[in-house]
């Protein structure tokens, strides 16, 4: 098995590869091409027949499949054992995972065992050189792991000069998902679970599991009406739902509105929530903390509705309406209904 490649751990639930994994394959393809190495993927689970059809269009050269009914649903130790033991053989230079409940559970265990650096929640990944300021030693082609720090007030570029693999997690929606070539074919390597996992790794038993398909799909909504702390109450969020429904969009929220209990966490936009790029983003009562702006700044058109004419979000907005959102939102609904066909 060839070494020194880039590998993406692909999450598998309900017969499907998770979106975040496909997003990472898209980014991984670019990075692997730049480095001149293979893009590899690994799927661990059960009933993996045909899973390659979901993965190869993203440009994967080699897919490792590890199938065992005990490996689904995900538990920490067995999946960690597979990666740790496989990585000792194939020595990848980079490993990417989703910054999900699974990736954030698995990544640290693997990095801890292999003594490799792991950077959580990267917002950008690039390849570049590095010179150690102390030793003067020069490195080429390191993975720049770029992430916000200190509540989003700074952005840090992290490198792992000496340890391999260089590991990073990325949240869903941060990278774009794009098919590389619908007809791309790679090789499948089936690994025998017994060679990688010990019976004693199956220590944690799942006794109940209730996973719902997410009802909220903010990430893919072309129109988002988002509310902040300034919305003031759960009841006032109903107004935002009315507007979103009228325009055919979804409701999002800032962390402050979620923390205040106005709305559920699933709808949080920003560095600790979802990253969105809609055609239209209507920010109501959102002051615009850096961590929020980072999750929506790529929206095509931004409208800010705020009592405070100096709200930071206004600087990145295309339209600013200063005033009470309780007053303005009904007008938006009224005039949309009047003017749309």
């Amino acid at each position: 098995m060839s070494q020194n490649n880039l590998i993406v751990y692909c999450e598998f639930e309900d017969g499907k590869i998770a979106d975040v994994s496909l997003e990472l394959l898209t980014k991984g393809r670019q990075l692997a091409s730049k480095l001149g190495v293979e893009l590899q993927a690994i799927v661990i689970g059960d009933k993996l027949d045909g899973v390659e059809e979901q993965i190869f269009p993203y440009g994967v050269d080699t897919l490792y499949k590890v199938e065992d009914k005990r490996l689904y649903p995900y538990t920490s130790n067995p999946h960690a054992a597979v990666l740790i033991n496989l990585f000792k053989e194939i020595k990848p230079q980079i490993c990417l995972m989703g910054a999900t409940c699974i990736g954030r559970d698995l990544g640290p265990r693997v990095s801890s065992c292999l003594h490799s650096g792991l950077t959580a929640d990267c917002t950008s990944l690039e390849i570049g050189p590095h010179k150690d300021p102390k030793t003067g030693k020069e490195y080429t082609d390191l993975l720049y792991q770029i992430r916000p720090a200190f509540g989003g007030n700074i952005v840090a570029t992290i490198v792992n000069p000496e340890c391999r693999p260089q590991m990073a997690t990325v949240r869903e929606g941060v990278m774009k998902k794009e098919v590389y070539d619908p007809n791309h074919q790679g090789q499948v390597i089936n690994l025998d679970a017994k060679d990688y996992v010990d019976d004693t790794d199956f220590v944690v038993e799942i006794i109940d599991r209730q996973i719902q398909k997410s009802k909220v799909n903010i990430k893919n909504s072309p129109i988002i009406v988002a509310g902040g702390y300034g919305v003031g109450s759960k009841e006032n969020f109903d107004l935002l739902f009315d507007l979103a429904k009228t325009l055919g969009g979804e409701v999002g929220a800032s962390r402050a509105a979620v923390d205040a209990g106005f709305i559920e966490h699933e709808r949080q936009i920003g560095q600790t929530g979802v990253t969105v790029r809609p055609k239209l983003y209507i920010a109501c009562g959102i002051s615009g903390q850096i961590q929020h702006i980072a999750g929506m700044q790529d929206s095509s058109i931004i409208i800010s509705i705020n009592n405070d004419p100096n709200a930071p979000i206004n600087t990145i907005a295309d339209y600013v309406i200063t005033g009470n959102m309780e007053d303005i939102v009904p007008k938006l609904i009224k005039y949309y209904k009047k003017n749309s066909k």
């Binding site: 570029t157 600013v320 309406i321």
Partner: protein, 290 residues
Amino acid sequence: MSLNIIVLAKQVPDTRNVGKDAMKEDGTINRAALPAIFNPEDLNALEQALRLKDANPGSTVTILTMGLPRAAEVIREAMFRGADGGIVLTDRVLGGADTLATSYSLAQAVKKFGNYDIILGGRQAIDGDTAQVGPQIAEKLHLPQVTYAEEILGIEDGKIIVKRRLENGVETVKAPLPCVITVNGSAPDCRPRNAQRLMKYKRAVSTSEKAHLTDDQKAFIDARPYLNIDEWSAAYVEADPEQIGLPGSPTKVKAIENVVFTAKESLQLENNDEQIEKLIIDLIANHTIG
């Protein structure tokens, strides 16, 4: 069944309420402008520990924190709320650690402590938001882990039953003891300080704080062992110098930049019917909506 519970807690700058003076002109953090607080999810973890203690008489809750000597503050705070005591792992050589070096150092301290049944901690700390240290410690100690815990449902036949809060649902798992559990912010809030405990523990001091006391005050503390907060050094926990602090950290910070967003030229609209209708018509005309 009585349990020895370790709660990992961290004193963190309050990054959630960052004011304008939080960044210095050179782009570095002005730590002095950020109040140091008990990491919020570590308080959720403490509450779970205290509930286990309530349900299992004879159990102990010990706080383990790594940081500057002043991190003894979080141990006192935890004692006011119900913890029995704590340890500050503090040493200059531990500074500059990334999550891996931190988890190694804490794992060494846990080994030194010995005789534990459960290690609890918050899911993540708000100064880094990485959620890495818990699972990394679990791996170093060869223990199972349960992350994103929302509620400990009980202990049956030496196994702990925990409800986890995941992105799209909940999962209930059964894990053998000892194990590492990281607690989610959606778990119940920590109980407040207890007035009696506040009176009892308000004079609790760490080793370095004690050094500044008068002889009378020292004698007072010495007569009451429960007021002593231990400080452990890297050498005391037998940490390998190659695996701690900056040298033990595989990740290096290459660059730090201030976050600057490109300002746009905004169109200022009045809150009146005419301008709002015109906005809607424009958005329909350019196919943004409709």
